[in-house]
């Protein structure tokens, strides 16, 4: 039992893996509009001096900041939840996509797999159609052992192809593991 717990503790959480992969890829600028699912990641990022962490008033502000930083030679990411993403189509369609900005987005997926909020559930259904009609690369991470591969590869592809990318954190990753077995 105690060895089992020790082994469990030795396993990196998805938040720790994301932080490590962001560092590996020199993503220093973190912008976010808060979300409960992202709270533990946000806390880790705030606690690490490597990162510049900014919490603007709106997600599209974060898109502007990360775009400007990229133009200035610094890499950044926008963290948000599904409803935050729903405020972004204009900024994505008229800034990130046409100007070929490798805008990294990490979106915690709310409104699915047992969400109790009707508003979240309906907003959630707009996310993939918007990403698809804008031609934005997106992938939902569902398993802990996929986090490093997917986040690392999506970051690298975004910069290599000069295109935005959306990493979706599925409740299968962020909630299922926290449930009691």
């Amino acid at each position: 039992m105690s060895t089992e717990i020790q082994q469990l503790n030795a396993v990196e959480s998805w938040e720790q893996i994301v932080l490590r992969v962001l560092k590996m890829n020199e993503i220093k600028l973190i912008t976010y509009v808060p979300d409960k699912v992202l709270a533990s990641l946000i806390k880790l990022l705030h606690a690490d001096d490597y990162f510049t962490v900014i919490c603007p008033a709106r997600e599209e502000e974060a898109v502007g900041i990360v775009t400007g930083a990229y133009l200035g030679g610094q890499r950044g990411i926008v963290l948000m939840q599904t409803s935050g993403f729903a405020t972004l189509p204009n900024a994505l369609a008229s800034l990130a996509v046409p100007y070929q900005i490798p805008l990294l987005m990490m979106i915690s997926e709310r409104g699915t797999l047992g969400d109790f909020q009707l508003g979240q559930a309906i907003v959630c259904r707009t996310m993939r159609p918007v990403l698809e009609c804008l031609g934005i690369e997106h992938f939902a991470i569902t398993r802990l052992d996929d986090v490093e591969f997917v986040v690392d590869r999506m970051i690298k592809q975004a910069y290599a192809t000069q295109a935005p990318a959306a990493m979706i954190l599925s409740p299968l990753l962020t909630s299922k593991a926290n449930q009691k077995k």
């Binding site: 599209e60 502000e61 974060a62 898109v63 502007g64 133009l71 610094q74 800034l95 046409p98």
Partner: protein, 206 residues
Amino acid sequence: MNSRSRQDVKVMNRSDLTKRLVAQLHKDEAVIGGIGHTNWDLWASGQRLQNFYMLGSMGLAAPIALGVAIAQPHRRVFALEGDGSILMELGALGTIAALSPKNLTVVIFDNGVYQITGSQPTLTSHCTDLVAIAKGCGLTDSYWAKDESHFDQLIQASLASTVPMFIVARTDNQPPAGVTERDTSKIRSRFMQGIASNKDANQHTY
């Protein structure tokens, strides 16, 4: 010190003020031109490599400028916006105040109308005072430009300032002096070349 309000200042010309601003830039300062006539006049003032022209994303000139200012703390960065645009993204003023970058100035051309769509009045033509809003957001160095020479002085002061500045000039409804070329990849690559960032973190090989 500055209790001047919108009613007290001279109505100037956006094209003229843009040229006056650019004339004071000698150190490859970056300038982000907001959507519409703001960046058309920036374009018409001479296509500096260090200018970035927004063709959409209304309201994001100040956030983009903030991003550039964070990435390049030793370069002065200006955001030029219209009143209609900044009214869409007022939270950005609070973000700038909270971070307080030493190298960022936001300049607003306030003509009180959405000029490009047929001059419908904006909130500033009613009772909204952008300098008061900026001060309320925590941007202590926020000013109405009284006239052209005061505008020049404020820009001059911003070039040496150690806190972000917010400068608002009332402007007339004259058409812009030119039209920005709408080639987004050219705009991006020229700007990145102009501020020497395309050789930095963006071309990793693996």
